[in-house]
């Protein structure tokens, strides 16, 4: 059965991208293999683990459940786009302080989800954080440290210059 090829023009972490993608390539594979942005992790490839979470046009989404061709015309942020070249962001600092990661496989998805949530609602309470993070699976930490880290990181999102 044939596939089709398409031009996709979008922005990743503020940089313009103009590439040809195959119809069946997921956005997660496109980011990792074509654009070499391997910060986005792929766990289950069918929407249940949340490791592949990225932000498209301001909304957190699963990049394994999006086709690369569907990214055409959008603005994308990956985990590479919410880190500094040197030093840690307040969100990363909070994750480190609370031991919110062990193996780190789920971490890009956790960070992207937390970043989207805190950008939307820096006043979110613990229940709200738990509700949102329920879409991300972590097999190491037991979640409590992640929730503590996100609770602490809220402060940084209340001041726009730190976001």
């Amino acid at each position: 059965m044939p596939t089709s090829k398409h031009r996709a023009v979008f922005e990743v972490n503020g940089k313009a991208v103009d590439i040809e993608v195959e119809s069946r390539t997921t956005l997660s594979d496109c980011l990792r293999h074509q654009l070499r942005l391997t910060g986005t992790h792929v766990g289950c490839e069918h929407g249940v683990c949340g490791a592949c979470t990225i932000i498209i046009d301001g909304a957190a989404v699963r990049s394994c459940l999006t086709l690369a061709v569907q990214a055409d015309g959008s603005q994308i942020t990956t985990v590479e786009g919410i880190s500094f070249d040197e030093g840690l962001t307040p969100l990363q600092t909070a994750f480190r302080k609370h031991h919110a990661l062990q193996c780190g496989f789920c971490t890009p998805g956790m960070l992207m989800t937390a970043h989207a949530l805190l950008t939307e609602n820096p006043d979110v309470d613990e229940e709200g954080i738990r509700h949102v993070l329920s879409g991300n699976i972590c097999r190491c930490t037991g979640y409590i440290p992640i929730i503590q880290a996100v609770l602490e990181a809220r402060a940084a999102y209340k001041k726009p210059e730190n976001a």
Binding site: M1, R24, G47, R62, C64, T66, S134
Partner: protein, 286 residues
């Protein structure tokens, strides 16, 4: 798994989309939010030769509320329903049901039309549409059809939709402000598909007796459906404890749940009964 091969098209109009779907003898599929179709493709449970993206179709992403009721465009997302402040009074049951659908990232993309077309028997939106007497508006090569939700679902992942038909909107009757309602479901983790769920509503007549009771269940059989026995046990009563227990009993008798890896049929039957009992108490207290 990686997705099977398919071609992709992103038409700009509904008519073009329908023509593309009609061009492949049933082998083309629409993609809206992709939150059910992409997993199906990844599992290779389907391998359509063409995906027709609904992304560019205009006018299908509005929530309209007026005296004639509520109209949800097929591309309205879970997130839009969650964020629409008007719905807290215009249709509180809709917002409550949708609050149980999937997780944050999925809610940003998943759509009401996609959910109804997907027809998972445990999904909230198909169940909601049946419980609330929704009308499903579809358009295909041979024109428009308006299908009552109660006649739309044929089995798990099976509907009366033709291969070249698209859902365009879902129409809901108006929701009286004084209506009593309750909705409960049980899932091991919030956002997962329900092991069972119940929605109930009724109005009160001048004597304080329940009229026009609607009881709908999800995850309790091969399609979402209403439970006439439980509705009859509520109608004409003041919804006292006797009526609540009678309705709960009738609900257990009125469902044909399946046994699967998540729960046995007996467990689900009992679950539905308990959920209706609690949902009715919530309705009375509301």
């Amino acid at each position: 798994m990686k997705l099977p091969p398919f071609e992709y098209a992103c038409p700009a109009t509904l008519d073009e989309a329908i023509a593309l779907l009609a061009s492949r003898d049933g082998d083309a599929k629409a993609i809206s939010g992709g939150q059910s179709l992409m997993p199906i493709l990844a599992f290779r449970l389907a391998s359509p030769s063409l995906l027709v993206d609904l992304k560019k179709l205009k006018g299908l992403d509005q929530i309209k509320i007026d005296a004639s009721g509520i109209t949800l465009g097929a591309k309205v997302s879970w997130r839009q329903i969650e964020d629409d402040k008007r719905l807290a009074t215009a249709h509180p049951l809709l917002q409550e049901m949708i609050s149980h659908v999937a997780h944050y990232q999925i809610r940003n993309r998943g759509t009401v039309g996609g959910s109804i077309a997907h027809a998972d028997p445990a999904a909230e939106m198909p169940g909601f549409s049946v419980t609330c007497d929704a009308k499903i508006v579809v358009k295909g090569s041979s024109g428009e059809r308006i299908i009552p939700a109660g006649e739309f679902f044929e089995g798990p992942l099976m509907t009366v939709l033709e291969a070249d038909e698209l859902i365009t909107e879902i129409r809901l009757p108006p929701w009286p402000a004084a209506r009593r309602w309750g909705m409960l479901e049980f899932a091991r983790r919030r956002g997962d598909f329900a092991m069972g769920g119940v929605a109930v509503f009724y109005d009160l007549d001048a004597q304080g007796r329940a009229v026009d009771a609607h009881v709908g269940v999800i995850g309790a059989g091969s399609i979402p459906h209403r439970v006439p026995g439980a509705e009859a046990a509520i109608n004409g009563t003041t919804v006292d404890e006797t009526a609540i227990l009678a309705a709960a009993k009738a609900a257990a008798a009125g469902v044909e749940p399946l046994t699967d890896i998540h729960a046995s049929a007996a467990y689900r039957r009992n679950l539905i009964s308990v959920l209706l009992e609690r949902a009715l108490r919530a309705a009375v207290a509301r």
